[in-house]
Symmetry: C2
Subunit: 427 residues, 2 copies
Amino acid sequence: MSETVFTYAAPALKYGPGALDELGHDVAGLGATRALVVTDPGVLATGHPERAAQSLRAAGVEAVVHDSARVEPTDASLLAAVERARAEGTVDAVVAVGGGSSIDTAKAVSLMLTNPGELMDYVNRPVGGGQAPSRPVLPVVAVPTTTGTGSESTTICVLDVLQAQVKTGISHARLRPVLAVVDPELTLSQPAGVTAAAGMDILCHALESWTARPYSMFAAKQAHERVPYCGANPIADMWSERSLRLLAGSFRRAVANGSDREARGQMALAATFAGLGFGNAGVHVPHADAYPVAGRVHDIGSDFRPAGYDVDEAMVPHGMAVALTAPAAFALTFDADPQRHLAAAGWLDPTGEVTADEPSARLPAVLTALMRDIGMPSGLAEVGYGEADLDGLVEGALQQQRLLATAPLEVTGEHLRGVFAASLHLW
Amino acid sequence: MSETVFTYAAPALKYGPGALDELGHDVAGLGATRALVVTDPGVLATGHPERAAQSLRAAGVEAVVHDSARVEPTDASLLAAVERARAEGTVDAVVAVGGGSSIDTAKAVSLMLTNPGELMDYVNRPVGGGQAPSRPVLPVVAVPTTTGTGSESTTICVLDVLQAQVKTGISHARLRPVLAVVDPELTLSQPAGVTAAAGMDILCHALESWTARPYSMFAAKQAHERVPYCGANPIADMWSERSLRLLAGSFRRAVANGSDREARGQMALAATFAGLGFGNAGVHVPHADAYPVAGRVHDIGSDFRPAGYDVDEAMVPHGMAVALTAPAAFALTFDADPQRHLAAAGWLDPTGEVTADEPSARLPAVLTALMRDIGMPSGLAEVGYGEADLDGLVEGALQQQRLLATAPLEVTGEHLRGVFAASLHLW
């Protein structure tokens, strides 16, 4: 029997320039008296976390700032953040100020300060125990400072498990932040390269949830079997469409001129909207592919350094890793629902500027044209991958069965091999 | 200084045929062990509340069913419901099964079982004390059985205060249900007349929030001054548009054939979407007008009996009362934003079937054509009002300053008089 039910949940939202200054009032309104502000060292240096702490204190909420988040969190970095939080004594709310890493770290802290056992007990199977939190967690308030992650809207904390050499997650409805404070002024200092990569993450969140297998095409679930990600559905569709339309009008502008406040504002909205979409529908092939693309960059001895990122080793940022196989992935998924793929191409390229020889090539062509304009690499080859690495990439993507199950077709290793091969040179 | 910030909040949602059967699992998931099911005698007779109670019991949640809600709740009916609930001893969740009256009654019960003082302390000023609840309320889970109210999405409990002879409300963010379970199968037995009137309520929720004064055109507020209704904003706009598009494809069909499951499903979605829109943006002139239109029907000695409602006295259902002045109200608001009014007309009449002499008459013409098709009265005159009643209607609408402040223009008594006069005979 086919599924007849879908679910939807979202954090409350406060959006607009100046929203950060009301943080204290909003956290006090949750009944909190002592809050932990979780951030990373890079964001700490911008002064935003201290501004958050000041707003908390002005509202009578004691505030402690920890720069305990690490870019691309690992089990070790999360445990260290939890240990540092435990040493602070009682807190009754966790405020994340930063990108996805800070928000995900705050989720892990909120979980482990309230629930028994070890972090690995809660990590998705088969890597971890896949246990659900038995007790309520501390409320997490998310203040995103980059436009991309969408973590402020979702139930997942992504982490690298070092010993297993695998990226996986902790996912449970209780991990969803209760409030997202989206102040686009915080993103004004984001470098163009970060805006471009993180923006491709937004775009793929929206495109993947829009083209995901519809909820009604899964087998009917029992109540206890439901997960937050239920496939494309009328509500996620709406968020995805609106996000793509916002991106069409603002993405190139925000990359070209980071001081364009209107474009920054629209990108911040687009990021949150896409998060509300994929946080309920799910993502599929490009995100599954992104795990090995980002994860194997050291194994292949790449020396790729992304513009805009202050890194001292090879790195493919998450949004870039997602983007690099997106054109080929949406060529693969085209037949599952041509109309949706063409509609998305139309939202992203409303004047029909980008042409393609056949309908299935239109959305890939629109994506490729955008990626050229915003300075994405020209393909997997540019970040260091070659023909010899295809087997490893396929193997890594196949491990992401939770994501592949959301694709609108049964994805095989052959499919993925084709996608990775076509992504070596996009232009 | 102009406002730069808007807010958004919503209940979690479970939608689809069969959703009601998962109620127990979902309420247990809130940590509840004993729930009060609030309904009204009419809905009780359908068996839905008992089905809800069975689902609760099967999930280990003790359930008590009270048919303590009254159509168009009053302070007296709410107090009686609270008294009956108090006599049950401890409950830790309130489940509403029914229309807006049941959901609003559940909100009042949830508030008064947890907070000190009297009901009138919490009623909006100037009728009541306008106090905010000082303590968390019991979680309310709403199971709407009619497609209209949107109360499952909103923070307000509407009531008639008998002594003051005025309809007002209790409004606070804490009153918003935590979960809406929208099972369109529950609406299959809704009579055509109820589908028509309640459907006009949906339509006006969406149209009024879409045409509301934009949030950025209010004066800047401090954090503690914010209210759940913040004017038109990008998120409410999205819900409103989608609701209107759904209504365009389903409203006439659902009235004509109540067994059309697809149309019922779309109407149920449209109702929830419109609730998510107006629950954050607000409503304005048609809803302000509806208070005296529904409220003064006894004073004028009307003998109007609406089709589909089992009533033994004159009554203008809420949705009908809202609809009757909507065409004239949207002619009044046209100049504030012609493009929005024309866009809405286009969503409701995508083939451009309804013509009008001038742009400002297009949306009113689309509404009037719809109202004729679904059997709405031909104007205020048909429900009993005449020229002599205009002063009283204007006076009543002017009392709804909270709603009128959301209109996209400064609404005067003269404006309202023009709207009521033009609404006496719509065709």
